[in-house]
């Protein structure tokens, strides 16, 4: 239940402004890939193009191909909605639906699309998803309570449970720990390690230690200056990127000399 992603010659534009230029990257199935780089280098923008969420931003568009096991996300007749049900996303700030209970939040992806699901099946799905997000034991007694009553870290795991409940092929995470305290961050990092047994995980992070801890491969993005497009500088095995990078810019960044 996981697929690989291959990106070919991808450019991202905001209206006329070229935000990310010429990215080529191959993301293996059942692996964790981290995107690192300074602020504004386009890594979050690029992540959004992997499930067409950039289309939510007015004026944003792409050129190039993103292949999910060989199927182009941007091919003619491809519905972004179908893309997103196969490639889930977890956001920077936890965003459970405030009008729904914890249980309904987990089922949101299924229910919102009006898919018929029996109560028994739903119970199984809720438990499996919350177990998968390491949240089950903390919330099993209050599934009917609003999700916004949880702590920040719990909310973020709820959002992960919500993402895996629709059984995606790939999970994208956009700085999932940036709004969390260290203990909650640790819980999420543990979870990411478990998730890669079943899913392809792509994570954007500002925290290089985090990238080193959780990822198998790391991609370093950089920007030449304000107004210039972001670029993929280097992509390789995480240990290599952090200990023995080929590019000077990567070495400067991971050793903390800029950024």
């Amino acid at each position: 239940m996981s697929k690989r992603i291959d990106v070919k010659d991808l450019n991202v534009y905001y209206s006329k402004f070229l935000a990310v230029e010429d990215v080529n990257i191959n993301i293996e199935a059942k692996s964790v890939t981290a995107f690192i780089g300074p602020s504004g280098c386009g890594k979050s923008t690029f992540l959004r193009t992997l499930n067409r969420m950039h289309e939510v931003i007015p004026g944003a568009r792409v050129e190039g191909e993103v292949l999910l096991d060989g199927d182009n996300l941007y091919g003619p007749g491809v519905d972004p909605v179908t893309v997103r049900s196969q490639i889930g996303m977890v956001f920077q700030r936890p965003n459970p639906f405030p009008t729904m209970s914890i249980r309904d939040n987990v089922l949101a992806g299924v229910k919102l699309n009006n898919t018929k699901i029996s109560k028994g099946e739903a119970d199984v799905l809720v438990e499996r998803s919350l177990q998968g997000a390491n949240l089950w034991n903390e919330v099993k007694d209050r599934l009917g309570k609003p999700g916004s009553g949880l702590s920040g870290g719990q909310q973020q795991r709820l959002c992960i449970a919500r993402a895996i409940a629709v059984e995606p092929q790939v999970i994208l995470m956009d700085e999932p720990c940036s709004a969390l305290d260290p203990i909650s961050t640790l819980a999420i990092e543990d979870l990411i390690n478990e998730l890669k047994d079943q899913y392809t995980v792509v994570i954007v992070t500002h925290n290089m230690q985090q990238a080193a801890r959780v990822s198998d491969k790391t991609a370093f993005f950089n920007i030449a200056g304000t107004g210039k497009p972001g670029k993929l500088i280097e992509f390789g095995d995480t240990p290599t990127i952090f200990s023995n990078p080929t590019e000077k810019a990567t070495e400067d960044y991971v050793s903390g000399r800029f950024g």
């Binding site: 939510v56 997103r84 009008t99 919500r162």
Partner: protein, 369 residues
């Protein structure tokens, strides 16, 4: 530079040159006494006493402050007096309005049959009898109450879907297109339409389409809709805008379609604000008189068919009972009915306003643990 340092200081240097704390009360007492004395010379009345005392109080306090504290503090005191004075001056007529309605309206409202009978067959002769022979007051507002409720409900049925869908278009689909900007602009224009012009429009449209002199409850409902739609659009738009984009993105990222995202995520999140906005819009149009006057005519009988015949409403009932009393020689029964109707109308409006608050609180997303 003469040294004024004194070895014994009774008061801190920081409180030097300040009026004592009790100053306002002292001045107030003096002003009240002086005010009473002045009024006693020219004929006493409570209203005059209040005004003269207030002026004396302000002058006294500011003058004293000027002497002791200097010009800056005195100016501050003057501004405070003026602001508080403005507040009290504003309360006066506003409470007078409510008091007048309560005092004059209660006898009418408590009259048996006031809420359950219409004006059908009630003529000046009966009112003359009431005044001259003490016969019970006849006639009520049932027909007007029904008319107001029916017209308002119909206007709501027209306005809410149109207004809400437009707001959704502007927030979720508009994306700053020329059409969206045009709609925003013209909704602004619509909010400024005087109510009587809205009534004229509905009348003119129905005169042109159905036939001259078409006056029914439905025409009035259309006129009220013209007034109500922009209010609904505005308030719903504001509420939809403050739904965090993160929630929409969360739903999209789950592979949920846009229309389902709007219906199941965005609207439920904003529903409390939207519902209270709609309730306030209803409160606004339920008291409109002018548009109904030119669109539904007057009726003294019960008419529950909004699509045919003249229809009464509470505001027009008040208006006609005051301006053209049923019995011109004895207008008191008519004015009692008018005040009763005004009280009912105010109660309706207040209930709607309170309802809007309750709705906002009840539907608000729960954040409790």
């Amino acid at each position: 530079m003469t040294s004024t340092l004194t070895p014994v200081r009774k008061r801190s240097a920081l409180t030097k040159g300040q009026l004592p704390k009790a100053a306002p009360y002292i001045v107030l007492a003096v002003a009240l006494v002086l005010g009473a004395a002045i009024l006693a010379l020219i004929g006493f009345n409570a209203f005059g006493w209040a005004i003269v005392s207030a002026i004396l109080f302000a002058a006294g306090l500011v003058g004293w402050s000027l002497v002791v504290e200097g010009a800056r503090k005195a100016k501050d005191k003057l501004a405070t007096c003026l602001v508080v004075g403005a507040f009290l001056a504003a309360l006066l007529p506003l409470f007078s309005v409510i008091w007048t309605v309560l005092v004059n309206g209660l006898p009418g409202l408590l009259d048996p049959g006031f809420l359950t009978t219409s004006m059908n067959g009630v003529t000046g002769a009966f009112d003359n009898k009431t005044v001259e022979e003490g016969a019970p007051l006849l006639g009520g507002i049932y027909h007007a109450l029904m008319g107001t409720l029916l017209i308002t409900v119909l206007a709501t049925i027209i306005s809410v879907p149109v207004g809400l869908l437009t707001a959704i278009y502007l927030v979720e689909y508009g994306e700053d297109r020329a059409l969206a900007r045009a709609i925003t602009f013209f909704v602004d224009v619509m909010t400024g339409i005087p109510s009587i012009v809205a009534g004229l429009f509905a009348a003119a449209a129905f005169f042109a389409v159905v036939g001259p002199g078409t006056k029914t409850g439905a025409v009035a409902a259309v006129a009220l809709s013209v007034l109500m739609i922009p209010v609904v659009v505005r308030s719903s738009e504001e509420m939809l805008k403050i739904v965090p984009n993160e929630l929409r993105e969360a739903a999209y990222a789950l592979g949920v379609r846009k229309w389902r995202t709007i219906l199941k995520v965005v609207l439920p999140t904003a529903i409390s604000g939207i519902a209270s906005g709609i309730t306030l819009a209803i409160a606004r149009v339920i008291g409109e008189t002018a548009p109904i006057l030119v669109t539904a005519g007057f009726a003294t009988t019960i008419n529950t068919n909004v699509f045919s015949g003249w229809m009464a409403s509470l505001p027009t009932f008040i208006y006609t009972q005051i301006l053209n009393p049923t019995s011109p020689s004895n207008p008191d029964p008519s004015s009692q009915r008018a005040w009763g109707a005004a009280l009912v109308l105010i109660i309706l409006v207040m209930l709607l306003n309170l309802g809007a608050r309750l709705i906002a609180r009840m539907f608000a997303p729960k954040t409790g643990r």
